[in-house]
């Protein structure tokens, strides 16, 4: 349970940060760069989860390009154990969730009028300050639910932990599969399933509360 929770939170937070960055670049950068980023994300989004996990297995393997590159540069003398651990599973899950979060955040950033940005720059604010004082305060309230959706989606992942965790990362979905198909302990499997549903429902309720709070803030602002 704690592993699943930790994986979900790490994946949600990192996916939100990277997804926000990519969505921002797609919307605000020039058309060519934006299209390249968008095509890369969409190509990744529509590729099978299993194919992507196997790609990561090759990349993170003992004789994979990442270990080879680090040895060639001189950072390490022996290959590191990059696969079959928590980090590998987190990388695989982030890779799945980043395009999803990015696609979810593009309309959020696009809805922000460019006039605010122009006004801030016109008044002498730097690009970074414009981002911190204009973009972020106006988009975070819509961006956080997308990150929470990523957390919800990650909680029930099975394929990626199996392929990249190598049985060492004990997420709740693997435990349910083991209990129901190996141990035939259906009571335990049912209890784990209920725990998973409760966990996902808690995040869904958090999204609803955030949405309700946002509506009340808007109503207060307009009145």
């Amino acid at each position: 349970m704690s592993t699943t929770l930790a994986l979900s939170v790490v994946t949600g937070v990192v996916s939100l940060l990277l997804g926000y960055l990519l969505a921002f670049q797609v919307v605000r950068r020039n058309a060519v760069v934006g299209r390249i980023i968008f095509v890369a994300a969409i190509a990744s989004l529509f590729t099978s989860t299993i194919a992507r996990a196997l790609g990561w297995r090759v990349l993170l393997g003992f004789e994979g390009p990442i270990n080879d590159a680090m040895i060639a540069v001189g950072l390490i003398s022996q290959p590191l154990q990059l696969i079959n651990n928590f980090t590998a599973v987190a990388i695989g899950m982030i890779h799945i969730q980043v395009p999803v979060v990015m696609v979810g955040l593009i309309p959020v950033i696009e809805a922000l009028p460019r006039d605010f940005e122009r006004a801030a720059i016109g008044l002498g604010a730097s690009r970074w300050k414009t981002f911190l004082t204009v973009h972020l305060p106006m988009t975070w309230i819509n961006a956080v639910p997308v990150g929470l959706i990523a957390i919800m989606a990650t909680a029930a992942y099975f394929t990626t932990p199996v392929l990249l965790g190598g049985g060492r990362v004990d997420v709740i979905a693997i435990q349910i599969q083991q209990a129901s198909q190996v141990l035939f302990d259906f009571g335990y499997a049912a209890a784990l399933s209920v725990m998973l549903v409760v966990m996902i429902s808690a995040v869904a309720i958090l999204i609803l509360l955030l949405s309700h709070w946002r509506r009340s803030v808007r109503a207060r602002g307009s009145s």
């Binding site: 194919a51 297995r57 090759v58 990349l59 890779h95 980043v98 300050k129």
Partner: protein, 93 residues
């Protein structure tokens, strides 16, 4: 002076953001490229349960003939030698 420092910080942070964007795109694309490369060149990786080459996927498995001497070699050998025709014909499965 304050203005110069502010501009410098802005440039550094924007540069870092662009660098992070490039890394993020590479992060998204790298596994897909690896899958494509591996699918065309099975010698780069040995991954169970199948030989990862398009050629092997397109071939219909042929079992070695029992009459030829090569067949006995092919059946007994642990590793395919890749020299005789029986080993070359051997199914990737």
């Amino acid at each position: 002076m304050k203005n110069v420092i502010s501009r410098l910080v802005d440039t550094v942070l924007c540069g870092a953001m662009h660098a992070l964007t490039v890394l993020a795109v590479a992060f998204l694309v790298m596994p897909l490229l690896v899958v494509v490369i591996v699918s065309f060149n099975s010698t780069t990786v040995i991954f169970p349960p199948r030989d990862w080459s398009l050629v092997s996927y397109m071939q219909i498995p042929r079992w070695p003939s029992t009459r030829s001497s090569e067949a006995s070699h092919s059946a007994s050998a642990v590793q395919p030698c890749r020299r005789c025709s029986a080993c070359r014909r051997r199914s990737p499965w």
